[in-house]
Subunit: 439 residues, 2 copies
């Protein structure tokens, strides 16, 4: 008799921790992902800003699970889910369009994550690059470095200024970290590289629709972060909404001004998007209720209401913070996804054993965001920390959670070197035909 | 009065050493390259085989030359050269086709290199991937890793065998090093990663048209290399020519068999091309005599005959080994390019000072090729070394010539880790839409 089959869709924090929590259990586990690696997303902005190599923050899924004999890995994209027949339809990757194949499950843990949301303006996506995948991060790296290259060659002062203007949309941790990193590139790493352009004159604008940056943090840390960014020369504009993105830059409307007030046009070559996410469209194929961001509203056990064989975890799942506050959902961060993944896996085993499912008891370990070299904010329990102390905690936590001893050593040594030299080693323009007219 | 303008096309070994040799001289130097980085090509096969990250072997040209105040860098592609008007026509890189701009020179050092030669069968290029650029190396990495992924899913034994067959065309140092690295991936790095496929059963075939591998090496080292490769399970076929490459594999004809003898068909998913190079087409725009591989036949001073303001160095140049042996040209390797670059730069300065040009006195420091972990061949002066000694020399020389202290540290630590664990950290499938049918 074959063992029950648990299919896990997505090998991010939630999916991978679910798979590991099933190690040694009497089940067959199949992890399906459209990439062959697990990505440590909190450091993705460092790939986009040339500080780390892709290999430093990505671990082959097969390698992570190589010793877990009950787990197999499938490089494939899930196209749709049919709960009635307990089937996941997958397409294998490759050079030609592949046939779609059926994968049957006894239990399904859905951890397919989220992508950037352009709030109904998907046409902005080609201009306002998001940073959700490794390939996107390399696109951003290329675009940022090419902007400096173009500025070096620009004859016109206004055009040079536009080329050296970088707009970051979204003042959460990713936006704050991106802004700080861009400031460091412009003011330090590239300082001596150019002869005509002056990278240190770059204009970096951070836009946030709310009245404060870092909404998940306490007030005092938000104020600290804003001051720290401004000291780095970054223009922070809160209460500011992007109303258009075009070839020349972005159009911004301030919430403080009455409707009809003049909008500001920021001429910028580079626009980076860190403003919001929308859940994977796979959520829709479950036929379950979704929240505004397209996430599946789950039971406290992470099961889908009325579908006890399907669990949803991570950015794809809307899980209430507590029974007392329905409608207030846990945020899409790594520590939530990891705890949800483990809870879902244990509940699968409980269901197989005929036992009651248990609700998620989420433990909040705190929030961290780095601003620059020796500067960060940390809210841990009741403690609010800033500056070098917060920065060292940030480093420690990120190294600790990174997968693989060798990756940890590599990232620590990159950071140590960058701290001393203010350089960024991976300033490579790769991955696209730069020369459209050539042979 | 403005200083004389020296334009250097290409920032490989030859171009970069030419630029550095002009440091402090009373000239303006412009280095034009279509990439923003100098690539340490001897280790490119290690990027293709997931051992090193692109950032480990590539250094931003601007960073290398940041302290050389008389040098500027231009990210652009040279389209043609007009010696009559002393003009290089360049296209700037970017997202849209750019206008072509003129760049005037007083002296030109052409170091534009070479690309793969398919011996009149350019249609093979999409199937038999070469490894000359960083993007190509990442393509090879993706294709090799995808072959193992496809083998894991294959139902049919013959198809699985085809997916796990790797053919390398060309038995020079690159071909030998690739074969050794692929053997290590299959037999060690991936050994525990798969559940259905057996990577260690992979078939690796190394084809060479000559009767021996490594034509530049002494006989005893060639025999050693062949035995060492065979001990790694690699099938070495010398005197073997590829007559066709198609979707299923390669067709091979042996020179030992009479014409009309049956050809062998090797069913293989992955075909890698390390068989020969052809000079950049820029050579043709000089109107100077070219050799069979399209290289410019230069004077012993590296000047183009009849065009005293143009010097050619590196893989683009056919420079006689000695005046006694015209027609026998120096090989396209790093140490030749570097010495030529420095000689050309010094001759530019001598010409500007009204002094006689000097011929290149090439010093041959020897030849090295690595086969696998702890195994290499080295021919240095009269000494012929093999095994661990040769391997340590190979490591020392490559680290020594790599640019940048930080890159050296990174590569040493990757190698040390790989030596102990037999793992390859950078096993990432990136850079292409894997899912043609999806949103």
């Amino acid at each position: 008799m074959s063992l029950p089959h648990v299919v896990i869709v997505g090998a991010g924090f939630g999916g991978l921790d679910a798979a590991r929590a099933l190690e040694g259990a009497p089940v067959r586990v199949t992890v399906v992902d459209r990439h062959n690696y697990h990505l440590f997303q909190p450091l993705l902005y460092q790939v986009a800003t040339a500080a780390l190599s892709p290999g430093d923050i990505a671990s082959p899924i097969r390698w992570v699970l190589r010793k877990q004999r009950n787990a197999q890995v499938l490089l494939a994209e899930v196209r749709t889910i049919d709960p009635a027949s307990r089937t996941v339809w997958v397409a294998r990757g490759g050079e030609r369009p592949a046939d779609v194949e059926a994968l049957s499950y006894d239990y399904l843990i859905l951890a397919a994550g989220a992508t950037d949301s352009y709030f109904g303006h998907d046409e902005w996506a080609t201009r306002a690059l998001g940073i959700k995948s490794l390939d996107q991060a390399l696109d951003v790296r290329r675009q940022v470095l090419l902007a400096f290259e173009a500025a070096e060659r620009a004859q016109d002062a206004a055009e040079q200024r536009r080329l050296l203007t970088f707009v970051i949309v979204g003042g959460g941790p990713t936006g704050v970290e991106l802004a700080g990193a861009l400031s460091e590139i412009a003011r330090h790493s590239l300082r001596r590289d150019f002869r005509n352009a002056r990278p240190e004159s770059a204009r970096i604008v951070l836009l946030e629709g709310n009245s404060e940056l870092l909404p998940a943090f306490p007030d005092s840390l938000r104020r600290y972060a804003r001051r720290a960014l401004e000291r780095l020369g970054i223009e922070v504009q809160t209460d500011s909404f992007v109303t258009d993105v075009d070839a020349l830059g972005v159009t911004v409307r301030s919430r403080r001004q009455p409707n009809g007030a003049p909008v500001e046009k920021i001429d910028a070559q580079t626009v980076l998007w860190a403003a919001g996410v929308v859940a994977s469209p796979l959520a829709r194929s479950l036929g379950a209720p979704l929240d505004r961001a397209g996430r599946v509203i789950v039971e406290p056990t992470l099961a889908v209401p009325g579908q006890p064989r399907i669990f949803v975890v991570g950015d794809l799942c809307a899980c209430s913070e507590s029974a007392r506050e329905p409608g207030r959902y846990l945020p899409g961060v790594a520590q939530v996804a990891k705890q949800e993944g483990r809870r879902a896996a244990r509940n699968v085993l409980r269901a197989l054993a005929g036992r009651d499912l248990r609700p998620l008891h989420y433990r909040d370990y705190g929030s961290l965001a780095t601003i620059g070299r020796g500067s960060a904010v940390a809210s841990i329990g009741g403690a609010k920390l800033t500056g070098m102390v917060a920065w060292l905690i940030w480093i420690f936590v990120h190294i600790f959670w990174l997968i693989g001893f060798r990756n940890r050593v590599a990232v620590i040594s990159e950071w140590a070197w960058a701290y001393v030299t203010l350089q960024r080693r991976v300033r490579l323009i790769t991955g696209e035909k730069l020369w459209p007219g050539s042979a």
